[in-house]
């Protein structure tokens, strides 16, 4: 090292090395940190600040709770929150159950299971925008595939995306179609790590396939289920792309979800301050959900 050319005391050599190591470390961290600060930390802080100091697109000099007070009065928000929770409460369990069922199915002895696995996984690799366009073709009122099929049996057809009582469920069906295949991959991987001998031991004990699933397979899949559950819940609140293509939150907010409502406030109504308050609300909801999940479920999960 260059330092050793000079007659330095042990301490200064040590401290010089320490500080050069420190600089080295910070330099290595710098690129990632720039990106994180610019695109994550700064916006978060600014959003929180704007929710207290903002009014419309302007900044106030004094902090105010006006934006938060309006949260409580906003009827549309109540509708949107109800939609969002219903959306999560239905899409998450249904896609998990379907994912487990599909994984068990394609994990068995089956001709052409490679093809089947690919078929199940395909919706996952498609971008949400393309998925929405495919489903637009299914759901269109006059020319849509679903209504054509209903026409064959003499049914007049359903306005899948235009009927306020149906629109949200139409979106759920599409989300489940897209998500279940993705979660199936995790379950498939988990199933393959289960020791075959356990199933042999169960067979010797004359355990029915339901008993085997309930007492062996399902408990051993619990860590995967926890992982999938967290991801599915976060996705339920994060997915928004399909709304742009299919319903734009309509009709009359019947299919509006929290994230899309934030987008509307920020970029259609230009009330960035209120959008900031809504964002903080979304953040709180997600944090609470995550804590609940880890707290409640982890107690019942078996980790090897």
């Amino acid at each position: 090292m260059a330092n050793s050319l000079f007659p330095l005391t042990a301490y200064t050599i040590y401290s010089t090395m320490q500080s050069s190591k420190q600089i080295h470390a910070w330099l290595l961290l710098l690129p990632a940190m720039c990106l994180l600060v610019a695109f994550t930390h700064y916006p978060v802080v600014k959003t929180i600040a704007r929710s207290f100091y903002g009014f419309g697109t302007r900044w106030e000099s004094k902090p105010t709770l006006e934006n938060y007070r309006y949260l409580l009065e906003d009827d549309v928000l109540m509708q949107v929150l109800y939609n969002s929770f219903l959306y999560a409460a239905i899409t998450v369990p249904v896609s998990i159950v379907l994912a487990i069922a599909m994984a068990l199915w394609v994990n068995g002895k089956l001709a052409g299971k490679g093809l089947l696995r690919t078929a199940y996984f395909t919706p996952t690799v498609l971008p949400m925008i393309s998925v929405a366009n495919i489903w637009l073709f299914f759901y269109s009122p006059e020319i849509g595939l679903l209504n054509k099929l209903l026409g064959l049996v003499g049914h007049g057809g359903i306005n899948w995306l235009g009927d306020p009582s149906v629109a949200l469920y139409s979106l759920m069906a599409m989300t489940i179609w897209k998500e279940a295949g993705f979660f199936m991959i995790f379950y498939l991987a988990a199933l393959q790590t289960i020791d075959r001998n356990l199933y042999d031991a169960a067979a010797i004990e004359n355990a029915s396939s339901w008993t085997v699933f309930r007492r062996i397979t399902f408990p051993l899949l619990m860590p995967t289920t926890l992982f999938v559950l967290v991801n599915a819940l976060l996705n339920a609140f994060k997915l928004v792309d399909h709304l742009f293509i299919l319903t734009k939150g309509g009709p009359n907010n019947a299919s509006n979800l929290l994230l899309y409502y934030i987008f509307e406030n920020a970029f259609s109504f230009f009330d960035t301050a209120y959008a900031s308050a809504l964002t903080v609300l979304l953040l709180v909801v997600l944090v609470v959900l995550a804590l609940l999940q880890f707290g409640v479920i982890e107690k019942r999960v078996h980790y090897r």
């Binding site: 020791d195 001998n197 356990l198 042999d200 031991a201 169960a202 067979a203 010797i204 004990e205 004359n206 355990a207 029915s208 008993t211 007492r215 062996i216 408990p219 051993l220 619990m222 078996h302 090897r304």
Partner: protein, 336 residues
């Protein structure tokens, strides 16, 4: 007495390669039978076919006089202990043991009684609420045994149950398994590649090689009268010396070989051997040498050191000689 388990002409092929070829054997009630052989000899496959976890390509399996081939594993009235123990990692010891009884819907009071008895027999009392991950190898083994005991099945299949344990524990468990078997009057088919396990535990050994039975006999016959050169070279520590002769293959056990001039009677009657290696093992020394183009091992008591290359005279009693045919390695009748 008709046999408890009867296996007839059992065959199993994997991709046209025979794993098990025309195996026939019978097991009497209360008998402890070891299926012994090197890895890949078809012993585990045979056991799995008896359990019903694999289907044979041909042949029959009868348990208590009834053909069981079309019965599911759970309907054959047998229990099984796996090499990996196959304990359910998320269930406590107690739940692991009770799994089968719950699956078979045994009433609760009886379940409890059978659990208590099994737990006591294998000495798992303090551990019944632990998970398998918290148990040592020996304790896991006991859980697997207890699972077998609670089932009350008269036939128990064991697939190398001791191979994951250390030497000392293995010796203890050998005695324990044997005494459990006698106590419960179990009929046991025990798969192992370890001749000591087979020799010390079994009433009868079936030695398999490449999917075929080499010899079926009581343990002492394997030592005294091996039927083939394969058996001769498999059994014994170290196995029998095989010396090619003009008309046959001569077999002598290393422990029957003595070095002449060791204060031994009948000096000057031996043959010469060039010493290649001395392997000291505590109670004995195994001297390896070359005689008549064959490698000879001699077990000598105590510690011996003979220089490599030294020529010593060795001899053995004529009664200790075994003779096998040059072709096929079958035991020749002439020497009884």
């Amino acid at each position: 007495m008709s046999s408890f388990l009867k296996v007839t002409n059992l065959c199993r092929y994997y991709d046209n390669v025979a794993a098990v070829q025309k195996i026939n054997f019978e097991v009497n009630e209360g008998e402890f039978v070891a299926l012994l052989g090197p890895s890949g000899c078809g012993k585990s496959t045979t056991l799995k076919m008896i359990a019903g976890l694999e289907q044979p390509d041909s042949g029959t399996i009868e348990i208590q006089g009834k053909n069981v081939l079309d019965r599911a594993p759970g309907k054959r009235n047998l229990s099984m202990v796996f090499q990996s123990y196959a304990l359910f990692p998320h269930l406590s010891v107690k739940e692991n043991i009770l799994f089968g009884l719950k699956a078979r819907k045994v009433p609760k009071p009886e379940r409890q009684a059978r659990l208590d008895k099994a737990v006591e027999m294998v000495g798992l009392g303090p551990h019944i609420n632990k998970k398998p991950g918290q148990l040592s190898g020996g304790q896991s083994q006991r859980v697997a045994l207890a699972r077998s005991i609670v089932s009350n099945a008269p036939l128990c299949l064991m697939d190398e149950p001791l191979s994951n344990l250390d030497t000392k524990l293995r010796a203890d468990m050998r005695t324990e398994i044997r005494s459990l078997q006698k106590q419960l009057g179990l009929t046991v088919v025990y798969v192992t590649h370890d001749q000591i396990e087979a020799m010390s535990m079994a009433d009868k050994i079936i030695l398999l090689n490449q999917g075929r039975i080499e010899q079926t006999a009581a343990p002492e016959h394997f030592y005294d009268k091996p039927l083939t050169t394969f058996v001769a070279s498999f059994i014994g520590h170290p196995p029998m010396n095989l010396i090619p002769q003009a008309d046959c293959v001569l077999g002598v056990r290393p422990e029957h070989v003595v070095i002449v001039g060791d204060g031994d009677i009948g000096a000057n009657t031996g043959v010469e051997m060039v010493v290649k290696e001395c392997d000291y093992q505590g109670s004995e020394t195994i001297v390896t040498g070359e005689y008549s183009g064959a490698e000879i091992k001699a077990c000598l008591a105590g510690k011996r050191s003979i220089d490599n290359g030294e020529v010593v005279k060795i001899r053995w009693e004529p009664a200790a000689e075994h003779r096998f045919s040059k072709q096929g390695g079958q035991r020749l009748k002439a020497d009884g």
